[in-house]
Each structure stands twice: as structure tokens, then as C-alpha cells.
């Protein structure tokens, strides 16, 4: 409810702002109005960029080009008289241009993201950088479509005319040109508000959770059927669409666009806006947009620049002094550095007489400063600052208050799809070779449905490799794996997970920055059917799904005994609880087969008892389990069958007691020379 009151206030502010500007600076001053319009347009783009840069952590250096594509979509329509622009139908035209700009930019975004995001690392940054240049060239070259370097002139339509109000409200006694600007201002602000709501909804939805999850642990995301690749592409396309939307508005606000409007430096500006304002927030990008739009003016006026430098120095000294008092003595020097830099910056500003010559350096230094000392942006910095005085500030954001119940733990039972021979999973002669190393050497593994199948063996015997082969992280060099009557060799992790194989990880792979319940809800991603549009429009079905997922997640947390910790950040859990959470998250996938990789490692004795009970219950609900474990008591007490691996080969298989007595197994465990009986 808090959110809505903020929205109402925001709306009021936005509605009144142009009137204020006009009142203060006089009706002959469209300068500040234009500045606010450009800030609004840039904000739309930067909010979109934040989805890629802030949420998924990928760097795009092509947003200026996407912005240009949006602008040129509008421009070309006008240029070829497909849209009239400026006439009576201007309002409809501009709306059509906005829609088309969005779509075309999204299409280009997809074209770019589909190949570039296959690879992790700086590839997206490199490809988008190249893309930026090429788009510049294409716009320049395709004279027939874009009018080439000569640019396109558009006319801002009169969207609505309120000058008749001038009789009652003198503020509206303005010229027609200014009225156009005021009307256009409202259009931009309405679009910006729409964007904020849209981004808010996406980020709060299962998509938003997926974006954050894939950044924390890409492998775990893939194994939760949340394809890292697909969601990164999706995030990029959404982001590109918003860039296109902003571009189409920009074409109308500037009324003249040319290829060199959309430069590499602009892209850097956008990234600076996100970082400087503060990532993963709505205020941050808007703040960033304000800064980059006013930057040329700031750097153009020496006096103003000195004033700003002084202000920064004062803030730095104040917060630095405060931090000095509070900080660890070890960190004191580290804190001093940025404060001194700010002071030096102020001193420098007093000395230079010609600011234009050093503009780029100042710009570069700003970026460096933000990267080093404000990695969470101004918003993050302020949040931290306020949190110093108001304990707990900003921590209650993600609180989800639902209670689960036993009825919602399990998905409605479905009869599992088995292989022709009645097995749950059938591994035949699998070989996994890394260079000269055979981690798995022709291993067979036949797991019967509704059983707990233990997989044991000394360190390095190939157990974890087997897990990775089964979940598609490695593609085996030989052999076949049958699951649900089909081969899963060569299938990608998210697809295998989607077919019903869930897993936990030996070295815990939680989504650290998400809360405990959100971790489970990422596992429930597959239960959502609503698309982006449904989320954006907040369809009843979307809300229902979300509510169902919450209840389900809370129920699962109850089952693994973590309900009380539901709103903790996962990374703050004790180690043992992390392992339990991984099991809960895996159960959310409604798996037919659950792979547990050393679930008892690091657990205390009472925890282990609890774990055994949980695994038993999982089996009772018809889920087949493969269990890798070193705690022999666990293995011996709950497994129906045990397979022993040693140096990549299967050396024994059978009932736990039989396997335990097998001399080869004892030898494998105790080493070559100690095969004599124990007692």
C-alpha cells in the first residue's frame, strides 16, 4: 500500500512540475522543460539498461545504437510520410511510432543477444560495442531509408491544447510552441511512469527472480530449469525494447536526428548513469539520467563546476569524518583515499581556467571514482548512510508473509514416465574423458523407481562427475542415458531439469542475495504460465500464480524446517540450513528423480537425523533419489541399493549390507595394502 501512495505523490509531482518550471523561469523558457523531457527519455532507457546491467550483470555497450534504432524507426516513418507528424493525426502517429520503435529495437536486441549471450565473459560488451558502430554505419549508408547523414527532421505534434484554460489559469497563457512542449512533456512522463511500473512488476515477478538467480549461480539456475541463456536474452530484449521506446520519443523531442546523435560516448554515459545512480533500483537510474543530462551544462560552466566540486568535497568530508569515527582502524586509510581525492578534485577545479580542454578527463575520472568508491551508486551510498542512523532501513523490502501447510508441499501425484525396462534412469556404458583422464569409464547405472539409490566411493572416484553427466553439465564422451523413455545425452541442463531431474550441489549453490523463500520460488519457476505481458498487466492469473507459488514455497520450507527463516537472505543461513534449503529448492521442481550430492556434509548429528527423515519422506511421496554420501551410517540406513565407484569404474552394486561386506569395497576405502578383516 505504501507503494501506491508513493505513486500518487509521484504523479502529482509530475503533473505540477512543468507548471512550476514555467512559473519560476517564466513562460518564455522552454530550456528547463526540454531538459526535464530529455531526462525523462533517458530515464526510460537507463531503467531498461538496469535490467541487463544491474540485474543480470551483463554489460551492454550497444544501448546507444538501440536508442538510435528507436529514434530512426520514428524518423523513417515520418521521412517516408508513412506518418504525417504535426498534423491533426499527430497524436496517433506518435503512438504508432512509439510502438514500432519499441518492436524494432527489441528485434535488433534479439538479433544481437541470441548469438552473443551463448558465451559468458566480456563477449556481450565486445559484440555490442561493434554493433554500435555498425548500426551507425548502416543508418549513415542506407540513404534511401534513413536519409543518410543528412538526418531527418520531425515536427513535434500538438498532442493536446490546454491554452483555453488560460482564461482561468494564467499559467496556460503560453505560445503554441510551448504548449506543444508541455503536452509532449506529459506524454514523456506518462511513458516514464508506465516504464517504472512495468520494470517494477517485471522485477518483482518470477522473471525478476530468475534474473537475480542466474547472476548468483548460473549453474544452479540452469539446474532449476531456469535457463540462464534464455533469461539473459529475455532481459536484453526487454532492455532493448525500452531503449527503442525512449529513442522514438527522443526523435520527437529533438525534432532532428542524424546518425552521429548515437555515439559510443553516449553509451558510456548510459552505463555511468546506471552505476552512478545506483543499480537495481528505480530512483537510481532516474538520478543517473539527471546527472548525465546536466553533465555537459555542469562541465561547460566553470563557476557551476566549482560549486558542484565544493559540494561533493563537503559531502565527502562529512561522511568521511563520520566513517573515520565509526570505522575499523584498519580501514581508516582506505576511507581517507576517496575523501582526499574529492578534496583534490575541488582544489583542481579552482586551478583550471579552461574547462573544455579537460572535460573528457573529468568525465573519465568521474567514472573511475564511481567504479571504485560508489559501486552501489548514490542510492546505495545514501541507503547505507541512512541505515547507519536508522537501523534496519531498507531491509524489509522483500518480506513475503505467507504460511504454508502440509497440503501444499507436494505436487499432485503423477505416474512417472519410466523407461521401457521399468527403470527410472538407465545409464549404459557412460564414458567421461577429460584430456588423458577418464573420470568415468564405461559405467552402467540402473535406478529403479521409488527407491533410494546410494552412490559411494572414495574421493575422485567419479561420483560427482556422474551427477554432472546426468544433469547435462557435462556431455559424456560415450554411452547413453535413458530417462523417461528417451535419451538425455546432449540435452542442456535446463531441459533435463524440465524433464524432472532435480539436484543439489556438493559445494552449496544457493542464490545468495535472494531470500530463503525466493530461492524456493525460483525452483517453482516452472509452475508459472504467465508471460511478460501478463506480468506487466498484472493479470489476475499472474497474481494467482504468484500467490500459489508463495503458499507452495512456504509449505516446502515448512517441510525442510526453514519456515521461520523464510525472509532471511540465503547467504546468511548457517551451513547446515543451506543444505536443507537446497533440498527444498530441488523439491520445488516437482522432480521424478532427485540427485542429492553429499547432503549430510557439514551437518551436526541431530541435523543428520532430521535429514534422514526428510529423505525418507521424499521417497514416500514417490520421488526416486540418487544419494551421494560419505556418511556411511546415512547411506546404510536409508538406501535400497548401493553402487560403489572406484577410479571411474563400478566395482560393486547391491543391498547396503552386501556391499559393505564386499572385500573390494573395503579395499577401495582403506587402500591397497590393508585388505585384511577389521575385527
Amino acid at each position: 500500500m505504501f507503494k501506491y501512495s508513493a505513486l500518487v505523490f509521484g504523479l502529482l509531482g509530475v503533473a505540477v512540475l512543468p507548471l512550476l518550471i514555467l512559473a519560476i523561469f517564466g513562460s518564455s523558457s522552454p530550456y528547463y522543460l526540454h531538459l526535464v523531457i530529455v531526462i525523462g527519455i533517458f530515464s526510460i532507457l537507463v531503467l531498461g539498461l538496469d535490467i541487463v546491467f544491474g540485474y543480470t550483470g551483463e554489460v551492454s555497450l550497444g544501448h546507444s545504437a538501440l536508442f538510435g534504432i528507436g529514434a530512426y524507426t520514428a524518423g523513417c516513418m515520418v521521412h517516408h510520410q508513412l506518418l504525417v507528424g504535426g498534423s491533426a493525426s499527430g497524436t496517433i502517429d506518435i503512438l504508432i511510432a512509439m510502438v514500432l520503435g519499441t518492436i524494432v529495437a527489441a528485434a535488433f536486441g534479439a538479433l544481437l543477444a541470441l548469438p552473443a549471450l551463448q558465451v559468458t565473459g566480456p563477449y556481450l560488451a565486445m559484440v555490442t560495442l561493434a554493433f554500435g558502430t555498425i548500426i551507425g554505419i548502416l543508418i549513415n549508408e542506407t540513404d534511401a531509408i534513413t536519409n543518410g547523414p543528412k538526418g531527418i527532421t520531425l515536427v513535434k505534434p500538438m498532442l493536446f491544447d490546454l491554452r483555453w484554460l488560460g482564461d482561468t489559469i494564467p499559467m496556460f497563457k503560453i505560445k503554441a510552441a510551448l504548449m506543444k512542449d508541455v503536452a509532449f512533456y506529459y506524454l514523456v512522463m506518462a511513458t516514464l511512469l508506465g516504464t517504472i511500473v512495468f520494470v517494477n512488476r517485471i522485477v518483482a515477478s518470477h522473471y525478476g527472480r530468475a534474473f537475480e538467480a542466474l547472476r548468483d549461480s548460473p549453474i544452479a539456475s540452469d539446474c532449476m530449469a531456469v535457463s540462464v541463456y534464455k533469461h539473459k536474452v529475455l532481459a536484453f530484449v526487454i532492455s532493448a525494447a525500452l531503449a527503442g521506446l525512449a529513442g522514438s520519443l527522443f526523435a520527437y523531442s529533438e525534432q532532428y536526428i542524424a546518425p552521429n546523435n548515437f555515439s559510443f560516448e553516449q553509451t558510456i554515459g548510459f552505463l555511468l548513469a546506471v552505476t552512478m545512480g545506483g543499480r537495481k533500483s528505480r530512483i537510481g537510474p532516474i538520478l543517473g539520467a539527471i546527472i548525465i543530462v546536466s553533465l555537459p551544462a555542469l562541465l561547460g560552466d566553470l563557476q557551476l563546476f566549482r560549486g558542484i566540486a565544493a559540494l561533493i568535497a563537503i559531502v565527502a568530508v562529512a561522511s568521511g569524518t563520520y566513517a573515520q569515527i565509526k570505522a575499523d582502524p584498519k580501514d581508516r586509510i582506505a576511507i581517507l583515499v576517496p575523501v582526499l581525492l574529492c578534496l583534490a578534485f575541488f582544489a583542481l577545479s579552482l586551478f583550471i581556467t579552461n574547462i573544455t580542454d579537460f572535460k573528457r578527463s573529468i568525465y573519465g575520472l568521474m567514472i573511475l571514482f564511481v567504479v571504485y568508491y560508489l559501486p552501489e551508486g548514490i542510492v546505495g551510498f545514501l541507503r547505507k548512510l541512512v541505515a547507519q542512523f536508522v537501523p534496519g532501513f531498507g531491509k524489509t523490502e522483500h518480506k513475503i508473509d505467507v504460511h504454508g501447510d502440509a497440503a501444499h508441499i507436494w505436487a499432485p501425484p503423477a505416474s512417472p514416465a519410466l523407461n521401457a525396462n521399468g527403470s527410472m534412469i538407465d545409464v549404459k556404458g557412460v564414458v567421461m574423458q577429460f584430456g588423458g583422464l577418464k573420470a568415468l569409464d564405461t559405467v552402467d547405472l540402473n535406478v529403479q523407481p521409488r527407491t533410494i539409490h546410494g552412490l559411494i566411493g572414495p574421493n575422485g572416484s567419479g561420483k560427482s562427475t556422474m551427477m554432472n553427466v546426468l544433469t547435462g553439465i557435462y556431455r559424456p564422451t560415450g554411452g547413453d542415458i535413458q530417462f523417461a523413455n528417451g535419451s538425455i545425452v546432449g540435452a542442456k541442463s535446463p531441459d533435463i531439469a524440465g524433464k524432472g531431474i532435480a539436484r543439489t550441489f556438493q559445494n552449496v549453490q544457493l542464490f545468495g542475495e535472494l531470500s530463503v523463500i525466493e530461492n524456493v520460488m525460483v525452483g517453482l519457476h516452472h509452475t508459472y504460465e504467465t508471460g511478460i505481458a501478463g506480468v506487466a498487466l498484472r493479470l489476475p492469473s499472474a497474481a494467482r500464480e504468484e500467490q500459489e507459488a508463495r503458499v507452495r514455497a512456504a509449505s516446502i520450507l515448512g517441510f525442510v524446517g526453514l519456515e521461520a527463516l523464510a525472509n532471511e537472505e540465503a547467504r546468511n543461513l548457517p551451513y547446515g540450513k543451506m543444505r536443507l534449503l537446497e533440498i527444498g529448492r530441488a523439491l520445488a521442481l516437482d522432480p521424478q528423480l532427485l540427485l542429492l550430492d553429499e547432503p549430510a556434509a557439514g551437518l551436526t548429528a541431530p541435523d543428520i537425523k532430521e535429514l534422514i527423515a526428510i529423505i525418507r519422506k521424499i521417497k514416500e511421496h514417490g520421488i526416486t533419489v540418487i544419494l551421494i554420501e560419505h556418511h556411511m551410517d546415512v547411506v546404510m540406513s536409508i538406501c535400497d541399493t548401493v553402487t560403489v565407484l572406484d577410479f571411474g569404474q563400478k566395482i560393486a552394486e547391491g543391498k547396503p549390507a552386501t556391499v559393505q561386506a564386499n572385500p573390494r569395497v573395503i579395499e577401495a576405502y582403506l587402500g591397497g595394502t590393508a585388505a585384511e578383516p577389521a575385527h
Binding site: G435, G436, L437, K438, A439, P458, N459, G460, S461, G462, R571, N572, Y575, E598, A601, G602, H630, H631, M632, D633, V635, M636, S637, D646, F647, G648, Q660, I666, E667, A668, Y669, L670, G671, G672, T673, A674, A678
Partner: protein
Amino acid sequence: MLQVENLVAGYGKVQVLQGISLNVPDGQLVTLIGSNGAGKTTTLRALTGMIRPESGRVLLGGKDIAGMPAFAITKFGVAHSPEGRRVFPTLSVADNLELGAYTRLTGQRPKGDVKGDIDKMFDLFSRLGERRNQLAGTLSGGEQQMLAMARALMLQPQVLLLDEPSMGLSPRLVEEVFSIIGRLKKEKVTMLLVEQFAAAALEVADYGYVMENGKLTVHGPADKLKKDAAVRAAYLGAAH
């Protein structure tokens, strides 16, 4: 030679080692055994600076090396054959060995006869001699393990830390690895051996420590530990 006092270490929030103390006397082979996840590898990683210990002291010949970065600790003569071998797959066998003597070749440790030592390694590990110019990534698991050990020996270390040299090897190769460890022992190389194969380790060691959940529970001369029922139980389960 190597003395550990009250070492506390872990990863991020997870504290794995909860204050361990052990002693590796000069010229002796000491083994650290225990079940998986007990903290054996973490101990070695903390000793050689691959993770930064939270507290405690690591004395090498009386000098505290705790908290130094790994490359600096190596300079003092602590060689570490890490878990999972970690040979440099894109370099040849001979180059891997040469890198083992990096500190000697760059004047941080007495140089001696590096070429001669490489040849000695090829004598000691005859399988490697046949493959001196092959890329290490193409070796089999056992060969890689031997290369990792030989590479560590190239430091001419004060103390050699061996982390699970038997991991992933066939019994025949495990036997070979242990016979080499036996030979090194005869040459009075000071060693700390972390091993999951308790019996095999205790067979060659002079002294043993048993680790459980980040703590050292039992220790004593190797022959005594061999007969300790508690040790066996820790491995094959109490049910046995």
C-alpha cells in the same frame, strides 16, 4: 620443522577448521586422515596460504608464515601437491617440472642443479620420463598425480604437503604412488600426507592425526593408530 598452533580457517561464513594444532618433525612422514569433509584439504590450503587463516600460527622452522600469500610461502620451502593434481595442462611434462623449480630459477631459493633434478624426477617416476614432451593435459590420472608430486619435489622443499595422492587412481597405481612415498621417506623428505585411505597412509607414516568435523580427535604413532577401532569405525560406519 612445521608446527601448527590453534589454526582457525574456513570459507567466508563457514568456519571449517576450529583450532587445530599439529607438528611435523624434521625428516618424518606425518599423515592426516579423516572422512570426507572433515577439513583435511582445508588444513593444507590454510598452511600454504591458498586461504587466509583467521587466527593461529603456522611455524616453519620457527618462523610464522600464517597469513602470507601462497607464492611467498612457497619461497620458504613449503611444497604442496594439491588435491585434484592441478598440473598445467597446456604445458609439457618437462615444463611443469621446471615451473616446480620456479623459485630456484628466479633466484628466490638456492638454484642447485635444476636440470639434474628434472632428470632425477624422470628416474623416480619412470612413467613421466617416457612422456617428457607430452602436454600434461593428455596424461592419464595416475601420470598426472605423479607429475604433481614430482613438480612439488622440484622445489627441494623443507616440507612436502601431499593432498590425497591416491584420489581417483586404480589400486595398482595407488600402490605405485605409495611405494614412491616410501622411497621419499627413506630419503628423509619431511612430509605431511593427507589421505583418505587410512590404512595405506598409516602403513607408511611415522605419526598420524585423525580429523573429524574440523577438529583433531585422535593422534599418535602410526602403528598404534592402525589398530585403533575408532579409526576404522569413522570410515566404514558405526553399523559395521
